[in-house]
């Protein structure tokens, strides 16, 4: 009895697995995580574009583990996919996975986070510098072109460094605005502490730029608990749902620079299928972020 049940179970399992399909050609994508709205949106845009172009696409999720990402890429190599799209777990650590793929003659496209120390066929990612400039211009407009502002940053991540540089560049063209404090606040609780310190040390601050949604939302909470909501304006970067809602409902959150993971996913798959067809592609494909304010979205 038990034995026949086994056989049935096994056959059912095998059939279920077969239904998901396996192929040898097409695109293999290794994504950082599937537990963040940004990456969910990226993955679904990739799937939709692959369907539209009729290219087979497989997505593996590294779950923020570089070792899993390397194993996923190795499995793509063994399968013999034509192109690999990677959103790196870590910009320097991803080098070994990329080199391995390239040694096997497979072209690599990075999306979102660029790889360091190794050349790839193309990189599709947010133009963080331009986003930072837009944040700076928005800040200037919101605070009436004068006053002291502060920044919450994450100095070990290149994309954030670019954002902050763009922000500083934009502020530099407004002589009556001064950046009085730049503090590190990586996670939401750390950003909250950083924002409280900023407000404590500089009670005359009129604006805070948070490097990401979390940093900005934390800064907005700090502003409210310091009862400075009539004085301080906060601007964020990323544009996920929570921050967009805050821009709508929270008077302190005056705007957020929005990244477009859906565009990123679409362009990445478009690029991959061009590479398969043997067409040449741009080495850098910046996606320009938009500006979300209470007045609406400006792409």
């Amino acid at each position: 009895m038990i034995r026949t049940h086994f056989t049935k179970l096994l056959l059912a399992g095998a059939a279920a697995l077969m239904a998901t399909g396996a192929f040898a050609e097409g695109i293999g994508a290794s994504l950082l995580t599937q537990q963040h709205p940004f990456y969910i949106s990226l993955a679904s845009a990739m799937t939709a574009e692959a369907k539209a172009e009729n290219v087979p696409l497989e997505i593996a999720i590294a779950n923020q583990d570089l070792n899993k990402q390397l194993a996923d890429v190795e499995d793509f190599i063994t399968k013999g996919v034509s192109v690999i799209i990677i959103s790196p777990v870590d910009s320097t650590g991803v080098k070994s996975a990329i080199t391995k793929a390239q040694k096997a003659g497979i072209k690599v496209i990075t999306v979102d986070v660029p790889a360091k120390g190794v050349e790839v066929t193309s990189h599709v990612g947010t133009d963080n510098y331009t986003g930072g400039v837009k944040a700076g211009e928005l800040m200037a407009k919101q605070i009436g072109d004068k006053g002291n502002v502060a920044v919450i940053d994450y100095p070990t991540v290149q994309s954030v460094v670019d954002r902050v540089e763009g922000f500083k560049k934009a502020i530099a063209s407004h002589p009556d605005i001064k950046i009085v404090s730049v503090q590190t606040g990586i996670t939401r609780p750390e950003a909250l502490a950083a924002a409280q310190n900023i407000l404590q040390a500089n009670p005359d601050v009129v604006g805070i730029f948070g490097f990401g949604d979390d940093a900005a939302l934390a800064a907005a909470s700090a502003v409210k608990s310091a009862k400075l909501q009539d004085q301080v304006k906060v601007i964020g970067f990323d544009g996920m749902e929570e921050a967009r809602n805050a821009v709508k409902n929270d008077p302190v959150m005056v705007g957020v620079i929005a990244q477009y993971p859906d565009q990123m996913g679409k362009v990445a798959v478009e690029t991959a299928s061009k590479v398969i067809k043997g067409e040449t592609v741009e080495a850098k494909q910046p996606i320009i972020p938009g500006v979300v304010t209470k007045a609406g979205e400006e792409k």
Partner: protein, 322 residues
Amino acid sequence: MTNSTETKQALLASPLIRQYGGIVISLIILCLVFSSISPRFLAFNNFMNIMQQVAVIAVAAYGMTYVILLGDIDLSVGSIIAVAGMVAAQAFSMGFGFAPTVLITLAAGAIMGGLNGVLSAKLMLPSFIVTVATMGIYRGAVSLPTNGAPASIENETWLAIGSESWLGLPIIIWIVIALFAINHVVLSRTIFGRRAYLAGGNREAAIYSGIRVDRLKIIIFMISGIMAAISGILLSSRLSSAQTNAGMGYELDAIAAVVLGGTSLAGGVGTMVGTILGALIIGVINNGMNMLAVPYFYQLIFKGIVILFAVWLDVRSKSMRA
């Protein structure tokens, strides 16, 4: 029915099947299922692939085998793996060469494992609690030198471990095989190994027969720490970087490999052969599901089910023999 009885008899005839019945059958079933769907699964290249991917788990599982054999558990190995990589990265950045860095890394593993053993043996604390605590302590310590950022490793000899081959086999696989041989001999052919079985099977009896169980426990946790440090070496050489979140959750894969291999969580029963077979099952599941393009969340579910199934099959085949 006659047919299956004959197969059963044929299977039971082989000594490997007799001892590792359930696990070997599971391994064969998995390979058959995967290769019937994906022709590339059975390729020699893919086998090398699986071995390299499972190396980090297998080596940590060697150390875990002693610990579980003693009736204890070591939940800190994932964190030790990360610390080992970071210690190596820091040693290289201070200008140490390859050999001294290996020694420093192994010493770090021995110290962290030894601390687990001392806390558990001398303070009479359950190893589960001790290693839950040190898991957090070691994980926190990883981030101290770089403030959470990864550190890259550029020493060429170190990186060769993860990327070069010798006599047609990747070096990392040679290391897995060599460590298997050493640990297998230690466990099955030495007095130390006999003592571990005895102390794990019946602690009181072991004490009365003159075994210094406390000292044995400390040494065994040190071995687990050293094996985890070697895992950390393999991992950081494969990735050419020390990640602060490296090895997170790997202790559970290592425990699963050991238990899949027939080692009893109650202590006293188990072998290294079983452990490497258990590690291979985990490697085959992970790789096979990737080959079949099973979506990630389903992979987690399927892996859990396969582990349950394999352990059940093993328990069942053992009770059938008894």
